[in-house]
Symmetry: none
Subunit: 203 residues, 4 copies
């Protein structure tokens, strides 16, 4: 479908240049179409960006909702599965994380039509709430770290998203490398051990 073809191109350009930095002409060029054609499939630049984010957030929310519905009793498993959701989102669309950052950074929200803006915010908040809910369920194992479950959820997402951006940033500054997967593994390992370790090293 033409829509898909355009969204793929737009994704790359938006990821590289941000919302205002990307031009319709660039996107059209990347999609090997003319500018006019884009407007046959999308009403505006806003709508293209909106569609992209909707796809990602919808994907994320669907996966999180499914995870929550499983009512997994082990917190550790739930956390691990959460990371799996993030990772699957990343592999489904490596640019997704950047987009979520763009949303978070508020980089482009300004100037979007109010309805588009509020719909994005709604989906975004739903994701936050679902992650928090997954962590908040009663846990089967003993947790040695005390702290608001939501805070643990936040940390989880932050390690993941922070690392994706960081590794990609290093890659673009220093040239191609592919430490992302292995560094993510390492971080996951540290995170899990930290959550469940005895407190002989406690502060």
């Amino acid at each position: 479908m033409r829509r898909q073809q355009i969204l793929e191109a737009a994704k790359r350009i938006f990821a590289r240049c941000g919302f205002k930095g990307a031009t319709i002409e660039e996107i059209a060029g990347e999609a090997e179409l003319s500018t006019g054609t884009l407007y046959l499939y999308f009403k505006s630049k806003d709508e293209i960006y909106f569609s992209l984010n909707m796809k990602i957030l919808t994907f994320l929310n669907r996966k999180l909702k499914a995870l929550k519905a499983r009512n997994e009793p082990s917190l550790r498993t739930r956390i691990r599965e959460c990371l799996h959701v993030f990772l699957s989102m990343y592999h489904y669309d490596p640019f997704a994380v950047r987009f979520l950052f763009h949303i978070q950074t508020g980089d482009y929200l300004k100037g979007l039509s109010p309805e588009v803006r509020s719909e994005l915010i709604e989906l975004s908040q739903t994701a936050i709430r679902t992650i928090a809910a997954i962590i908040t369920m009663p846990a089967q194992e003993e947790i040695t770290i005390k702290g608001h479950p939501a805070a643990i959820a936040d940390s989880l997402w932050s390690v993941f998203s922070g690392l994706v951006i960081w590794e990609e940033s290093k890659a673009s500054l220093k040239g191609r490398n592919d430490y992302l997967d292995s560094t993510l593994d390492l971080a996951a390992e540290i995170f899990f051990r930290g959550l469940t370790s005895g407190d002989r090293n406690s502060t």
Copy 2:
């Protein structure tokens, strides 16, 4: 000084709207000056953004260099101190992390003059290298996690930066809150324990 006043205003606007999204008129308005006045103190929009980033990166590099010079033998302390540097940067300028992300995202680098661009990249790489060097020093304690020291450094920075963006994003979507400090503490605790725990819970 007027330069400071302008930079303060620019910081807020750039943080909210990104480089391309921010307009000179907005910045001037925020600084309660006219557009022309900005050009008495800065040659261009680029130069304003550049100055902001330089300030942050210079601050960060100075702190990191001092930390490295201390030759602290305990890795755990070094890591904790590293986080402190990040935190002090955050408290020095809450927008700093966003700026570093803008740099990382490459959002605005395109179109900067080559010398400006290379100066920023140079400072950025210096920060990366210094962090790596701090972690790479021989450690006094037993580290149970194997993995490239640089990868640990990356994780460290990622947790921090990811959390800052994430918490601020939640704050801007849901309204004011101030969980950042406590969530950072929690993440630090998880991270440290994870690094030095026995491996009874290993994957």
Copy 3:
């Protein structure tokens, strides 16, 4: 072609207002296009002006080179032909002389990109050198006026260009007239007689 249409309009506006005095909006209006359209065909205002001057200088140099290649033995004929070249340039483009004056006056050179600037100067100097070379060839007839051949060439060009500007200036101040051709003829006659007369009237 649109480029031609724009150049025609630009020629008139530049001739009337000079480089800085002309505005893109005026040029666009004269060409019955919008400002944006101009930028589809030219990268900048500089490039429009540059293109105009290049066309004129290229035309002039081609004609002069051809004249030189003919190796005409009579100086008088060469001079007459030189004037013909100037006249043909004028009839090819009545604004040309004004442009050459703008170049000479240095009115707009400042602020042009160095490569554009040097290319124009190069072409300009080539024209000067070619005219001088045409005059410097050995002459078949007796010349009663002693003086550097280059100075004669200079006088030739000066009479011509001075008259064009002057007549047009009078025309624009007093309203339409068309004495240019006849005054040029008169000047040519004076000039030729002066060059070859006996010296009974000498100073």
Copy 4:
């Protein structure tokens, strides 16, 4: 007087950059004053330019009027004296000719206030008319060139002004030289001989 100091500076800057190209700041810098000070002595940029041109045109008109009043019977002398007037104007103010060209070119007239504009045009036309009147007087000697006396006057002025611009242009492109005076002499010689020669070389 400060006014003189400013006009001297303005003259150099206007001559170098044209009306629109010159900036008040440049002029102030050249006069070693601040921008504000200029406005103590002149109401506007227009008025500075106006004053400069007025001075020149007034000077020229006064000299021409005096020449006309002498009722010199010899055309040849009248012509020679005319050139002397031009030359004295040039030596009185080497930039004057450029200014008259700027007026002629219409470079800056646009945007001037109507009264300023019409005053300049009036003075300019007076000069033209006076020159023509000087030539039109009955002549004592035999003129072998037939042609409207006004056309001869035009040629005269054109040779002179064309040469001034041309020589200065060459000087600025190729570096310092001082052929202007000698080339002017040569041109005058050619011109006078041409006017009064027998017609053995006629076309």
